[in-house]
Subunit: 300 residues, 6 copies
């Protein structure tokens, strides 16, 4: 049992007290939401995810048998500064703050934050990244309502800028209405799309197998848009789409991704004002904890 008695919640993710940026893994919140196109409020995601993580600290992961906060080299560096009211400047600031960190686990914030995180990571690893994206949306629109940097365009730019290797990129849980041209452009780059219906009918093991095959052996990134989950499991988000995953299915996939050379991850689009009973925040915290335990089990 933790030293903190009963109901007191230490403020760091998983109660982590280390704050300096030199750890092997760094948690950081990115409270950006000015590029969202429907319901606002992802700015409050990081603090809500941290609070919800208190359910995940009294023991080891029940599959990987790792207790991340106790045995891994992790710091929670707090939240990144953003530039109020200026999306372009915010993305630049995020990239600058991410650059010196070794292995970043980012808590969003909107999905737009992934673009500067990939830019920073691409420079660090020196080659295009593999990417597994859980999402109900492609996020490869060239722009959203005229804004090139909004949350629906993040992977358009990631592909366009060569941050990601399209043949090593897979999108899981896709189901929103979409422009067919947008989808065709994405497929033409070489990206693999696993639609939600297909993922749900074939089951987690088959999905995990395909994801592993696409990611291959190079450095990889996990970008988890919480709207990949069905709104029943994640109501607290800005652009919900019905027909998504149950949380256990996502866990079943993630637990089968051992051996992938992950170099960073984010969980984004948690909007607590629309949540109920913290269930969305808890799901997001659990995704980050699954990731850490997966890597911890491999000596990460």
């Amino acid at each position: 049992m933790a030293l903190i008695p009963t109901f007191a919640t230490p403020p760091g993710f998983l109660g982590i007290e280390r704050r300096d940026p030199g750890a092997a893994f760094t948690i950081a919140g990115i409270p950006l939401d000015i590029g969202t196109t429907n319901r606002a409020g992802a700015r409050d995601g990081p603090s809500a995810i941290r609070r919800a993580s208190r359910m995940l600290v009294d023991g080891a992961h029940p599959h990987h048998w790792v207790e991340p906060a106790a045995t891994m080299d992790i710091a929670d560096a707090g939240d990144f500064a953003i530039v109020l009211g200026d999306l372009a400047a915010s993305l630049a600031a995020i990239e600058a703050q991410a650059a010196p960190l070794k292995h970043l686990v980012a808590l969003g914030g909107e999905h737009g934050v992934t673009l500067p995180l990939l830019r920073a990571l691409r420079k660090r690893v020196g080659e295009p990244l593999g990417l597994v994206q859980f999402d109900s949306h492609l996020d490869t629109w060239p722009e959203n309502f005229g804004q090139r940097l909004a949350h629906g365009s993040v992977f358009y730019h990631a592909l366009d800028e060569g941050l990601v290797d399209p043949r090593r990129m897979v999108q899981v849980g896709i189901r929103s209405p979409m422009g067919r041209d947008v989808r065709d452009w994405t497929l033409a780059r070489g990206v693999t799309i696993i639609a939600a219906q297909e993922a749900l009918e074939t089951g987690p093991a088959a999905v995990a197998e395909r994801v592993r095959a696409v990611l291959g052996g190079g450095p990889a990134y996990l970008s988890f848009d919480i709207d990949a989950l069905d709104p029943a499991f994640a109501p607290g988000t800005g652009t919900p789409e019905v027909g998504g995953f149950a949380t256990w299915q996502v866990q079943a996939i993630l637990r089968r991704l051992g051996g992938v050379r992950f170099a960073g991850m984010d969980v984004v689009e948690v909007a607590p004002a629309h949540d109920v009973a913290e269930i969305t925040s808890l799901a997001a915290a659990t995704v980050a904890w699954e990731y850490l335990a997966l890597l911890g089990a491999e000596g990460g």
Copy 2:
């Protein structure tokens, strides 16, 4: 991307601006809830479903590749008038308003509205209709608490009046407590009942197969009571029953109903005051959008 920038929601379903009743398909809300037997509030369903439909307008359906609002001949005629405090008179008014419409997609309102819609449609098509009803309740009670026209009796009358061909009628998702006599009466008419447990254990493909077989080749109607979904997916309803469908399962069934000669549909029993984060309204909007895309894909 739509012309309407960012967060502004056009008031029609899927942003449809056409209002006249001459379209091939007409959306109409029916804000009736005075025949509900538990929690009230389905009167607010139509406006909430319309608002939630804003998530479904920025692209094509990801399976049928149809964009209903952009390419189909659809109007949203607004809400039907009802008679305040008088269920019988309201049903008569609904029938009269439905009569001249070509192909009605009705947004409830309580399930009781289906009776006058079937009466009008039966006259239009000139023969008894096939019917697929998604519901957790049979709705074939002869009366509810003494009221013959309440929402639990709608299909008793539909069968009794010959509006529906019982051998071409199938009920999917049934799971509430029920009088055994009521069930036996229904089965004795020739109706097919697919219990929720059976549907969930056999999976969407098997259910769709049975539904198609029952409906056959004649004109058919889809009546979707949102309480067919589990309350986790549709808390905003008046008579919830646990143990129901996930939304993706319903979508998987509907997408397999190509070729059925649908002549009308409704989605009913959305009670927004009990909803959270619009998830029930979004599920209902999605059901209507699935229906439109299914028909649109067939040149509907």
Copy 3:
């Protein structure tokens, strides 16, 4: 249809009006929550579960074809007295109140109430009990934050005191972080643990088979912690863990437990202040109703 017209809710569980403790089955609420370790409020579970049970009274169970409130010998004796602010004294009081009852169906309250219920039942049946526990937590910690009697230690004591036969004990749905030593201690006693991921991947029929095999032919007890369900299905609880059951899966398991010699049950950890649209309370009421119908179908 019930004599009570329309929306009026009789206060007893399933509208049961019998109040004396001499019935074959006795419903009792146990409004204890002072041993919970995260969110409070399980004290309000009993009254909320009773209210939600109004959805379950207008007919027979759709699988067992039993109408518990109409045909079984059941009383709702109201709520047990507890000792405010004193967990140890409360447990003693609960045991004393449970002792004279024939077959108790307890509505919690926190999981800690199960310990005195098992103590009382162990005396009544004269031998250690079989136990099936639905839960996301092992609840075999020797103490919680220093408190030996808190809700996470209930089965440590049940095993330690010989109330339960560990070879006839099975835990279903386990998924929280846990001390590996706690798990090893539990397994070393001979307890069977079915993790949530395993249960969800193998399906209800396989789980039910294993549960039946473990319980065998002796007297058995069902302890249902509502957090066995995924938070999407049961947000109204104190220590939620994502990755759990859908309600239909639990029903599918319970319906396959015919022939087990159940001598008592509880459904615990419903915290209505965190619920939405009564869905958690309804799920809990349904679990108790499934149990009653299962036993009623066997002439219980």
Copy 4:
């Protein structure tokens, strides 16, 4: 302290266990809401008000020093039957059920229930009644959307049928938009209207003085529409209007109405689905408790 320990709530109003209709005062719920013109859900008012009344049972009224449930001759007879989906028949049924009761304290339900209650009481007392109506609406429209019996027409009929003596009728808290013709008709009958702004600026003592003057010495009735309170104090209602009373002001007025010959009262329009933290239900319960204590202090 009550015999009921801790959190258990006895189901009757103020925990009253007497159920027969022969008491000097009878509490009854009237779960009608099919004549409401905006948000639904007043049908759930009676049960919510009863639950909220648990805050009012552990002691005497702090001004009148009466403990109604302990020392007055009161029964809670449960809820009146209504006729589902039929407003006219429901009103007739309500009148018939109210007729034999000595002094009725009715818990609504919508304001439309007051009309049959006044009809029954007018017969019992043999003369037109004085009336004090707390409301944000006049409720003297001749009809609402074509329905003569809806909740906005109740006092049109009460005046038109001679149930109330207009010179002994006063409306307090009026502030909604209104047809000037409707107001002029009301004033022309001789009714006194105290607008919300006037009441709030002059204070409770002045308002109470005017109310007493209008009611005079004859038999009188109190009809309390909870929307007389500001929505901050009573969000759980169907037709809210901002700019209303704080609850303490209403209490200050009611406590000054000693000596008025009250023969009955109702508190209506509580719609719990829109409430937060039970505050509207508690306000409504408190109004009924103030009324009982006022009469109890006079030996009622």
Copy 5:
């Protein structure tokens, strides 16, 4: 009674159907919230205020005896376009869209929108404006977290740019923590500040008298930040401060501002995701309706 039956809500403010920009008064929504510094979501204010306004359409204003939607020359032009993720560009776009309108009633959106509205209006009227600002915040910070155009700086720029005549500017309801230098700067310009405590202790009549005296006879603007109300009356906002107005007090002040030469107004900072039971949206709708009725009563 309106032609629209029962529960159907026409989408325009007060049900107004005129959409063209040529009316004497134009309603417009401005769904901007990317310059807010605490809770997000004001982008959804305009649609929520319009929906809530359905309570205000069935009759005349009870003080001014004007029915704005029926008798005044008003259009609801819909929502202004904004530039996603770019505050500076959004403000420019807002100014351009406001420029051609005769008398704008703007529904926010964050308070930052007032700056471009004042820029446009200053040009139209040809002289600095008088201003009455209801707010809990001064909004005269030179910048917020580095952003010069955020919602806390709007009146710094309005004064700095000479859009407003500081001797004819009065701030009402101020109570947040504030930099003393910010307050001194504001006072030094000549602005009048009426703190919340002072306003609440002296009463609406005294406040109205001071406001009228400050505004004088020149053209004036009303900017109403909904956080001027206490959070009990307006929880649905981003930067709440306790200790504010009750809604009736604000109405009492506004009704006494006859004769002021108002040339435009806004009501801002409504964030519906944090609202309960629509009470904040209704309060905001009521403020705009009070303004229209005030001007309508003067032949506006």
Copy 6:
């Protein structure tokens, strides 16, 4: 403006980063709620109050012109340890933890925590304390449902043990039902009771005058039960009573208590699960901030 950009919330009250117990003022949370008699959840009060305090850090108090977090010698020591499930042991632990602190500002937790805080403070100051208690309840019951240490008995013991000088004790806002014997006992000790109705009718200045007169010149303590506020202003509490203060009135009283020799304070009974939009937590945070600013203005 604070160094922390935009939406990030530092975890200490008012963002205070000092954690050691040697400061002139120490903030501490006390997450106890096992002695509450109605709705649970006050254990989550401290963390919610801290979060809500982020609204109070960007400037000086607008009356006292003090910025507590910036200029006063304050630490936030985190939460006290309590003993799970054992009220008596918890109170002992609280007293031990409070003993070494110089001037404690405690964030509850239930009102029962005040007893050990007074025990510790009585020892420190060496004489009975003056006390001003804001509350809707007397809290001088000798026991609650058999429990002597529950939250309704705190001042019975404080008086009985001589911790407080009854002639220097005043209770403000009292309005719940109460045993007349309990009230008479309290008055007979010499305590001053200012009922809510009296306080609301005479106004803040008169109340403050009486409070100052009672407290006199000796050391004094402020105990603020958040249920002193009306439930409209503080819905997030366990035992709400309508008819209470608006927050501004409480602020107006507190600001007039300059010169009182306060030696400690608490704000208790915040139960966030029942709150809406953080308004109760913000009110509680504001009360503590008012207290600090009051003392800071006197050089505290």
